[in-house]
């Protein structure tokens, strides 16, 4: 049992009920967002994102493999999340726990369902060879709201990904590592996470807010303003009004977030 959150619960809840937060933000205001790409030269795509003091690094590595039998002409996308013990004093090494599995699956879904990556363009030899894109997400500093930070990082890394050029001569696949082309993308996506504390929905929770949350709601929004993913978490229920209000805010915030991708130099 964690004692500190039990002690701070009342004061944080009081603040939020007065529409104030410990770090002086508005209830629907993000912390400072910094995105850097091309941070790992050995990876075909990479990024480092800071959301407040939360920090994640993403590397994208492609390899050539066989497609799944039910989708023979479609590339493969795999997302894995490692929540490193360095990121928080309570994180343990070992196989992924259910929180990091949830993180990986939600980020995987938001990228997949937004159809950001044009998977059909990743087919190399129909039914036999496709590009497999491995997205590895490392959480190195945990100060709340991993979902949004991870989505920003994965999307930025994909925008930065370059695949080696492929030519096929006499049924042989030649990989030309010298000339690279951009990974073909057809959409952009962002995620906005809210937590319910008291009677309010609060955007971009800090760690101390996450520690005392009643419920959590993450909403993925595409460039066109469509909802493509949603995930509720937390021990308490949400009202329908909470959900609808958050959806509206998420749709308007996504414009702000997606603009960040264009600002990456």
């Amino acid at each position: 049992m964690n004692i500190i959150p039990e002690i701070t619960r009342e004061s944080i809840t009081h603040l939020i009920n007065d529409e104030k937060r410990g770090d002086r933000r508005d209830l629907s205001q993000y912390r400072d967002i910094q995105i850097e790409t091309d941070v790992i030269s050995k990876a075909e795509g990479s990024s480092r994102v800071k959301l407040g003091d939360t920090q994640v690094i993403v590397g994208v590595k492609p390899s050539i493999g066989t497609p799944f039998s039910d989708t023979p002409n479609v590339g493969v996308l795999m997302t894995n999340a490692e929540v490193l013990p360095m990121a928080d004093p309570n994180f343990e090494p070992g196989p992924p726990n259910e929180d990091s599995v949830e993180l990986a699956r939600v980020v995987d879904r938001v990228i997949r369902e937004s159809e950001m990556v044009d998977l059909e363009k990743l087919s190399i030899v129909n039914g036999e060879k496709v590009w497999m894109i491995f997205i590895d997400l490392h959480v190195i500093d945990y100060d709340g709201n991993l979902f949004d930070a991870a989505t920003l990082a994965v999307a930025s890394a994909l925008l930065n990904t370059k695949l080696p050029k492929i030519t096929i001569t006499n049924d042989k696949i030649n990989i030309d590592n010298e000339s690279k082309e951009d990974l073909i993308l057809k959409n952009k996506v962002s995620m906005s996470t809210f937590v319910k504390i008291g009677n309010k929905m609060v955007l971009d929770p800090s760690l101390e807010e996450e520690d005392i949350l009643d419920a959590r709601l993450s909403i993925g929004v595409t460039e066109a303003g469509e909802i493509c993913t949603m995930q509720k978490g937390g021990e308490k229920p949400l009202l329908k009004e909470d959900i609808i209000e958050s959806v509206k805010i998420a749709i308007s915030k996504s414009k702000e977030l997606i603009k960040k991708y264009d600002e990456i130099s």
Binding site: M1, E113, E226, I227, C228, Q231, G233, P237, K240
Partner: protein, 236 residues
């Protein structure tokens, strides 16, 4: 409160847009478990069992100020077309977690410090919508175990198929459809305890889907209660 416009769209399996698949629930189907339920909806066959509240030998999971609920969602290898490798994978780990989150608000866990409730959901055969059906079955098993609850949680999904918002997607509709919104609620208050969404929806379509899913939950809720009273009748 439901703004559901009428619609004469007929789905591939002959259902109307707001029609559930045929649903059967039986409670108290296992002898050893403290509570149990069996549920069939469409081609799904699902068993749920409950043990507890009890002391667990995994001491580190227990909490001094509250009880804990632990869920295990598991698919049998023979439940799907291509044999599923036994054991937990990422999907079942996630579903186990959100199932516990979905059921927890109904329980009075603060009354059971240092104890654990174990819920186990076994998908014997899968045909779309297993996470909601698993939650629905598990809630019946919790009631069957005689565990005091604020409400009986119930789950149901709505989604978008061929551009139409429809209730309770079948496996085929889930595969061919554009999106899926599984939810679970506490039916007395309509509070939402599980919410996921997969696939593109506009804000308006999402609102429609959640209203439709809540309506479906209320229909299933009646069948859950019938299953519980039927067992009482049989025993008397």
């Amino acid at each position: 409160m439901f703004i559901i416009t009428s619609n004469d769209y007929i789905r591939e399996d002959g259902r109307s847009f707001d029609q559930l698949r045929s649903l059967k629930i039986k409670s108290g189907v296992l002898k050893r478990a403290d509570g149990s339920a069996y549920l069939e909806v469409g081609g799904n066959k699902i068993l749920a069992s409950v043990y507890g509240p009890r002391e667990s030998f995994i001491r580190r999971l227990l909490k001094p100020n509250t009880g804990v609920i632990r869920c295990r969602y598991n698919m049998a290898p023979f439940s799907v077309d291509d044999r599923k490798r036994p054991g937990p994978d990422r999907r079942s780990t996630e579903i186990s977690k959100i199932t516990a989150d979905a059921l927890r608000p109904a329980l009075l866990l603060e009354d059971y410090p240092m104890s654990m409730i174990d819920v186990s959901i076994e998908i014997i055969e899968a045909e779309g919508g297993t996470r909601c059906a698993g939650i629905t079955a598990a809630a019946v098993a919790l009631a069957d175990a005689g565990i005091p609850m604020r409400d009986i949680v119930v789950g149901c999904a709505a989604g978008k198929v061929d551009g139409e918002i429809v209730l309770d997607l079948s496996e085929k509709e889930d595969k061919d459809g554009q999106s899926d919104v599984p939810i679970a609620i506490l039916p007395r208050t309509n509070e939402v305890t599980l919410l996921q969404s997969d696939g593109k929806l506009t804000e308006e379509e999402f609102t429609k889907a959640i209203d439709l899913a809540i309506k479906g939950c209320h229909e299933i809720s009646k069948i859950q209660k019938d299953a519980l009273t039927a067992k009482m009748r049989d025993n008397s």
